[in-house]
């Protein structure tokens, strides 16, 4: 029994790292642009496919192709902003959130359908030489590829935190996130900040996708599931907050994992969603967030 619990804890932390990584992007988009991109999971999916095809056709190891995938999705994110989300950010915050929810909904349909058309509905996984390797720490087995996911997540979170607190652009991001009109009056080019924040958010989703295609599997329909996980993490950390995301992600992963020991794997998702609803009911501003205006 103890072995089972310890293994669950380990698995929970590992998958929680992934939850945190994908939530980082969503938190950035929502925190800065006040836009809720429900198609975030689809961006993860696309990133996963990019890695998968880079590996399958050109034999490029996913860790090596990661910077390229990041860049490619960054550019795609810029395109998505310029042609779609830019129009959403024209309205005031309340309408903006509602419109972005609806529009990204439409985007989910579009991206998923395109993925089925071009990639087929089959599940794919990247199998490298080290895919099946694992560290053994006592009674616990830690797959290398999933540990890598956690490491990347933590690294990304630290980098983002550094960006936000130590750079001029990061200050501009936080200022825009707090109040975009005051930011504009301070001389910040809000349009450009929005564009870069959104592109970053897409790029982060993409590298999460690379890790998912390596450590788990991808198919055209996985988007919504991951988006929901990211949403739960973002709410846990505090809607609008860009800090404490990976911590919240690990928390979610742990709760899910331990609960499924008792309730069985089939109810794993339901537990997560139930936790979500409970948090929404009693502490909608999450662990780290401030109460919403």
């Amino acid at each position: 029994m103890t072995q089972l619990i310890l293994q669950s804890v380990a698995s929970g932390i590992l998958v929680g790292g992934m939850y945190g990584l994908i939530a980082l992007g969503l938190a950035l988009a929502f925190g800065v642009l006040k836009v809720l991109n429900v198609a975030h999971g689809e961006l993860l999916m696309l990133g996963g496919y990019a890695s998968f095809f880079a590996f399958t056709f050109w034999g490029i190891d996913p860790f090596l192709s990661m910077p390229l995938v990041f860049l490619a999705m960054f550019l795609f994110g810029i395109g998505l902003y310029q042609f779609l989300f830019r129009y959403v950010t024209r309205t005031e915050i309340h309408t903006r959130i509602k419109n972005s929810l609806l529009i990204s909904f439409g985007l989910v349909l579009v991206l998923q359908a395109l993925a089925v058309r071009f990639f087929t509905a089959d599940e794919r996984t990247i199998s490298t030489s080290y895919s099946l390797e694992a560290f053994t720490i006592g009674p616990v087995r830690v797959p290398v590829v999933r540990l890598a996911g956690l490491v990347v997540a933590v690294a990304a979170a630290i980098t983002l935190e550094w960006l936000l607190s130590r750079t001029r652009f990061g200050r501009a991001l936080r200022a825009t996130s707090e109040d975009w009109t005051r930011a504009a009056l301070t001389g910040v080019n809000v349009r450009r900040v929005y564009m870069i924040a959104f592109a970053l958010s897409a790029a982060l989703a993409a590298i999460a996708g690379s890790l998912v295609s390596l450590g788990y599997s991808i198919s055209p329909s996985i988007g919504l599931g991951w988006t929901l996980k990211a949403l739960i993490v973002v709410v846990l950390a505090g809607l609008g907050s860009m800090r404490g995301i990976v911590v919240a992600g690990v928390f979610l992963g742990l709760v899910e994992s331990l609960a499924s020991v008792w309730l069985g794997g089939k109810y794993r998702e339901v537990v997560a969603l139930g936790l979500f609803l409970v948090i929404l009911s009693f502490r909608p501003h999450g662990f780290f967030g401030k109460a919403h205006a």
Partner: protein, 331 residues
């Protein structure tokens, strides 16, 4: 002038509603084509589901992303009871009743959430219910073999039509009632509505329960019509997606919008060449996006503008002062 335009608009929209309903009814009476009948039944079920969502989303302004939960529940109860021997009518009544009760139980906590929290809360709920349904009822549900040998479209057709008519009737009544007015006030500005004495929670609750019950009714029609499916399919978020798509494209908040949208969507999907495959989803997805951004009133708004424009030339010609036509002007 303004009031006569409004009268014209109300008149035209009633004609539109009757037109669509009439057309759908006529097909059943006239046609024997299996494909057309299937398509029409599916359109009516989707139209009913969309209209039910419209009550909560369009009238009361609460964007629910978990609507399929009630559709699925209605389908589940109907299917289990009906295939188990209970008469269809009783099964459907039970389905609506159970769905209504579920809506009350769920509505009390979830309607406390505002705006976006409500949307993502209902999304989470919908997905949780979908997964649970899949866990509890994993096996496929099929109608017995004898029923399939000579599948008679008449009964499911008229059940679906009846369900659609009921939903439209309830929508119409609601739109012109005091309760409905309260809902629309909450939709437009909840704080202002509360300040004028409207019990916003009660109105949201009423919208929620009516909307859910009608979704359950639509689910019943689906269960009665479908030959075989996995029970959790009726709980799938795809139904919610389609309902939203159809309502927005057709025109949210109107009576005829969900109907227009359902017909447009189903016919469009059917007419698009099969080679196009998934691109039809892409097209509808893009159309949805365009509607949200540029024409929130959907097809209904577009049609209204078109109608308004065709009436204008009459006023223009009467205002022109008659001039003697000279030969040279005719070039």
């Amino acid at each position: 002038m303004a009031s006569s335009v409004k009268h014209m608009r109300r008149g035209t929209s009633s004609i539109a509603v009757l037109g669509v309903l009439g057309m759908l009814a006529a097909i059943g009476l006239v046609s024997e084509n299996q494909h057309l009948l299937t398509l029409t039944i599916q359109t009516m079920v989707l139209g009913a589901l969309a209209s039910s969502w419209n009550i909560l989303g369009g009238f009361a302004g609460q964007i629910s992303l978990g609507h399929a939960a009630f559709f699925g529940l209605g389908a589940l109860v109907t299917r289990e009871l009906w295939l188990g021997g209970t008469g269809l009518a009783l099964a459907m009544i039970a389905a609506v009743a159970i769905t209504a009760v579920a809506a009350v139980v769920v509505g009390v906590p979830i309607l406390r959430f505002r705006d976006i929290y409500f949307s993502i809360g209902t999304l989470a709920l919908g997905v949780a219910v979908f997964i649970t349904a899949g866990n509890l009822w994993p096996g496929i549900t099929s109608q017995p073999a004898e029923a399939l040998r000579n599948y008679d479209f008449t009964a499911p057709y008229f059940v679906a039509l009846g369900v659609l008519l009921t939903t439209v009737a309830v929508s119409l009544w609601l739109k012109h009632s005091k309760v409905g007015l309260g809902m629309m006030m909450v939709r437009d500005d909840e704080e202002a509505a509360k300040a004028t004495g409207v019990n916003s929670f009660a109105h949201k609750m009423i919208a929620f329960v009516i909307s859910a019950s009608l979704a359950g009714l639509a689910g019943s029609a689906f269960a009665f019509f479908s030959v075989s499916y996995y029970p959790n399919f009726a709980f799938s978020v795809l139904w919610t997606f389609e309902a939203l798509l159809v309502v927005f494209i057709g025109g949210i908040g109107t009576i005829v919008g969900p109907l227009f949208g359902a017909v447009f969507f189903m016919v469009g999907r059917d007419l698009l060449p099969t080679g196009i495959g998934e691109f039809q989803v892409v097209l509808f997805g893009l159309l949805f996006i365009v509607v949200v951004l540029l024409m929130p009133g959907g097809l209904t708004e577009a049609a209204g503008r078109l109608v308004a424009r065709t009436r204008r030339p009459e006023t223009e010609t009467t205002e022109k002062t008659p001039t003697a036509t000279k030969g040279k002007e005719l070039t």
